[in-house]
Subunit: 113 residues, 2 copies
Amino acid sequence: MASSSAWVPVVRRPLDADQARAFAPMFKALGDPVRLRLLSMIASAGGGEVCVCDLTGSFQLTGPTISHHLKVLREAGLVDSDRRGTWVYYRLVPAALALLAGLLDVGSVAAGV
Amino acid sequence: MASSSAWVPVVRRPLDADQARAFAPMFKALGDPVRLRLLSMIASAGGGEVCVCDLTGSFQLTGPTISHHLKVLREAGLVDSDRRGTWVYYRLVPAALALLAGLLDVGSVAAGV
């Protein structure tokens, strides 16, 4: 994945069609309350990764539904996972979040807002 | 709208259900390639605003379809608009982008990635 520094914030230069097609799925993955919470739980995990068994208890949702949302986050490149024994462990892909934060960076444009 | 400084990056603290419900629609609005391009065109406009008449030419889409996507961006709080005479003019809401960028800020977590 390209580093965030390779991308110019949208306040500086418009995205072309290819760039928009590449980035939109990452934002779309974050556009669901359950996935956004899951991402935040994985991102803020103290040990750097979270067992799926520790994620399901926070939601009134079935295991397969949680797994589906985690798969969407993984396919968008926002998280990565490993199966170890019975459980799957998830961890953040920090470069992906940095890329999106870089695109949305308003810098001095936001001053005074 | 709360300033971005009111929100802790997701790498520091997980979002609760109410926060996730508040922010997910903003990410969802960005989760479409046409809307993401439109936002970037509005955000990077030299004069701070763009006439809808200057946006439609970049897409193989009808005016009503472009207007629908602009409405989604506006309802998500990412852009604002004014009707002046025949045309509607759109401008970025920088605080909204700053808020999302702040949520996704990985700071030192991304170092070395």
